[in-house]
Amino acid sequence: MMFMNKIILIITLIGFLLLMPKAYAGIGLFEGSVSLTALQTKTVCNLMIYSTIDGENLFHIGYGEEISKFVSKIEPNDFYLKTINCPSDGQQRRECITKLCQEGKDEYCRIICTTFTGPFELSLDPKSTSYNSGIRDIIKAGQATVVDALPFVIFYTPYDLKIILGFVIIIIIIIAAIIIVNKKRFKKKK
């Protein structure tokens, strides 16, 4: 009987855990945005950098102030690129640039991977908040500084405090159950 009770308790606990919602949201990545939850790390390689400026110039990739707290790594960064030699027609030019990038012609084009990490924030009512800012490549071309910028959005959802509270309550209940069972056993022995 005691064995049966233990099994019921374990099954109930397992049932409780299975009924919990998934703590992490699915991947919500599309061009120009990324979805993150607290402590989640995501690496996104969605940026192509190429040079239309004469000569060989230094490129630096950066994110706007509002979203830079989510950025933990930009790889590669601070690199030199030579001018692309692609057709002038827009569509053909973009296809040519994409091909250069995919073929790994590093001297003409780079694919940039950014690792984002969601900061640890707790909320009783976690909702996705959007942080709008820019992703930019800053080019030192001769004496000039030229910036190409695109809008970038991060959708961030803090950690659900209720999940932590739930775990704490479960642990307290388990400890209480163990104490009660042991007390009875100890009394019996006496």
Binding site: M1, M2, N5, K6, I8, L9, T12, L13, G15, F16, L19, M20, P21, F30, E31, G32, N46, Y50, T52, I53, D54, G55, G62, G64, C86, S88, D89, G90, R93, R94, I97, S133, G134, I135, R136, I138, A141, G142, Q143, A144, T145, V146, V147, D148, A149, L150, P151, K162, L165, G166, I169, I170, I173, A177, I180, V181, K184
Partner: protein, 213 residues
């Protein structure tokens, strides 16, 4: 034995109550689908590339100027000598772009030399998207001349939302923003070589100067 049974039952009930309290339980009904529909969408990524003319990458130089002189036109102008009303300073939208581009500019601060300063608003500029020619006079006395600022503004304007180099098209071989620069030097100015950083930024149309940094 009875107590133990009750303890386990109570604990089980408590856990289930807690589960519903935290909203972890989901009750799903039975449903029959007669028909279904969904949406279809695709997001095409934006490409933006601007290319400064060689006169810009060479640096905007006003040459040797006497104190107390105004409207000194920038040198390194490939279109014509400084005395003409044309400019070789331009930034073009590269044909790889697939969106119109808003072009901004700013300076990092005043022009300085060994602790001496020429205020940045002594630099004036004018811009347009039309090729410098017979019908376009880019002169320091024309209506479109504005002072350079230390915050990003549309090139040739004091606004972040309007101006001559807003919505420069990516079509038709890519539009251009032509710029002319002048410098006023106060009469009391100490001799020296004065420098500052000048920055250009091209962003997808209507997404704001905030993306420039």
């Amino acid at each position: 034995m009875e107590t133990k049974k009750w303890t386990v039952t109570l604990l089980s009930l408590l856990l289930l109550v807690l589960a519903s309290f935290f909203g972890y339980t989901r009750i799903t009904g039975f449903a029959t689908y007669i028909y279904g529909n969904t949406t279809m969408n695709a997001t095409v990524g934006a490409w933006v590339a601007i290319t400064p003319s060689n006169t810009i990458t060479a640096g905007i130089s006003f040459g040797n100027i006497n104190p107390g002189t105004n409207n000194n036109k920038a040198l390194n102008d490939t279109t014509g000598p400084p005395s003409t009303n044309c400019t070789g300073y331009n930034i073009s939208v590269d044909t790889s772009s697939n969106v119109n581009v808003d072009m901004f500019n700013d300076a990092s601060g005043n022009l300085t030399s060994d602790g001496n300063t020429i205020r940045i608003n002594n630099v004036t500029l004018e811009a347009n998207q039309t090729q410098c020619g017979a019908n376009v006079n880019m002169t320091s006395t024309s209506d479109g001349t504005i002072q350079l600022n230390i915050t990003y503004l549309i090139i040739g304007n004091t606004s972040t939302t309007a101006g001559p180099c807003k919505s420069v098209p990516y079509t038709g071989g890519g539009g251009k923003c032509h710029i002319a620069y002048w410098l006023d030097v106060p009469s009391v100015q100490v001799a020296g070589t004065y420098n500052t950083s000048y920055e250009y930024c091209g962003v997808q149309e209507d997404t704001g100067s905030g993306n420039c940094g």
